[in-house]
Symmetry: C2
Subunit: 306 residues, 2 copies
Amino acid sequence: MEMMRSISQLKQYIHRKKEQKLTIGFVPTMGYLHEGHMSLMEKATSQCDIVVLSIYVNPLQFGPNEDFDEYPRDMERDMQIARNMNVDVVFSPTTEEIYPNKIYTTVSVSNLTSRLCGASRPGHFDGVSTVVMKLLNIVEPHKAYFGQKDAQQVAVIKQMVTDLNMNVEIVPCPIIREKDGLALSSRNVYLDKAEREQAIKLFESLEQSERWIEEQNVTSFELEQLLYEHISSAHLANIDYIEVLSFPDMQPIENNIPISQLLSNHQVIIALAVKFGTTRLIDNRIYTGSLNTEKREPELGGMIYV
Amino acid sequence: MEMMRSISQLKQYIHRKKEQKLTIGFVPTMGYLHEGHMSLMEKATSQCDIVVLSIYVNPLQFGPNEDFDEYPRDMERDMQIARNMNVDVVFSPTTEEIYPNKIYTTVSVSNLTSRLCGASRPGHFDGVSTVVMKLLNIVEPHKAYFGQKDAQQVAVIKQMVTDLNMNVEIVPCPIIREKDGLALSSRNVYLDKAEREQAIKLFESLEQSERWIEEQNVTSFELEQLLYEHISSAHLANIDYIEVLSFPDMQPIENNIPISQLLSNHQVIIALAVKFGTTRLIDNRIYTGSLNTEKREPELGGMIYV
């Protein structure tokens, strides 16, 4: 496995591999790797000849009061994981390498970003789409792998790639969870014991949602109320948002028709963002088609369940 | 020469040519080709194995009260010119092909676009940078050729390519002029006889500027005044803007120091936009280094003079 910090070095490497007709898979991450990232690397190595993992905590996607400085980092451990997962190159550039000068160009995806994390983290998705564009131009992969836990991020990146005729296939991968259901996140390390115990409420509420939709025929409005009650019963939970939207366009749905009826024509996402102490967790579930038939994969999204 | 309307057809063609290790040159245009475009094609064919010319009038870069519908079109004549210039492919997509669905993604270059045409044509450069990004992703050229008449456009595209690590070299090409000095533009065809005669004032004022800078040691403020007086002596001229800015960042320069002194550290652009009737003409000149020594090419810009 090679570790590279320089864009030009990586580009030369990619150029050589493409000359050999090898396919390139790309897994962009902010490091502090967990099994969610490992599932991306696993899929990438199974589908591509060469896998590039990037580890870069991108300042552009953090707000002024967010956790950029505190974001967990452990390069040695990450390198070991990447090696174990048969990654070919770890690309870990400095910020001077990625932003050698002030950047004046922004890639923005409107509409999909007006709600959820787009609303609660202003500028976040511009930072994401701009750096992902840069990384995709540097690596020029055939396929790039993203975790479905950040469902809005995946939707934004897919929209960008389609709108701008970019030459890459975006591969969304299922959410990976702890045994008790907590979605894996590098930020979980921040949680203290009591917070960690209560964080399970997110997964529980998503599990409950299925029954509420299927058995109680709730509307999106009613479902949001039930989710709110369930999650706020955890006294450490500080709810950022609870939204039930159409997917992947992230727009409000009819709030006086049962969701179960809407599912014949729409995919629906339940998206949650909840703070425990200073730690902001997100989770989601996407419902496709009738819940009474065998669960299908969402059009954008890999498996829903773990 | 091949004519293509489909993105996938063009992509397959490019893929085959790249497999043969041929270099691709790209000349994006809105058609109604003139000798300015021809100079781009000539440079492209001299530097690249395969030259793709695109002809596409992009609605996204026209304002609601601009001349999108009236923009001159003559595909037959354009095809003949392209054939004569040894272009390999004319890519002339429909708007359904370029924008099959509503586009949510915008590429914006800030700072460089706050003045000149960026100020007088709101949204124009977002439309330009977004469509150029799309076209560059479709054609994936090694080099792309742009006319320096649209100096701000070239600066914006170069900034975008640098900021986003795009894999293309932007080649700016000198302004091509009529015998009397009028910069070539597809829009010149709109001018009636009286307007055409007075339109020469733009070039004249740029020519005069050299003397004003060199002999009268004018400041940017004084130069703008002199340009204003000269151009407005044409009674059909309706001035949109006259600006003297640093180049290529398009920012105001010290207005109480003679320009001739500033030239030791800065490139300076004189940029003009003037309407004659409904026809909006632009022109510019870039000054680099001392005017007393042999004129050098600006860092971004090919030759200054015709």
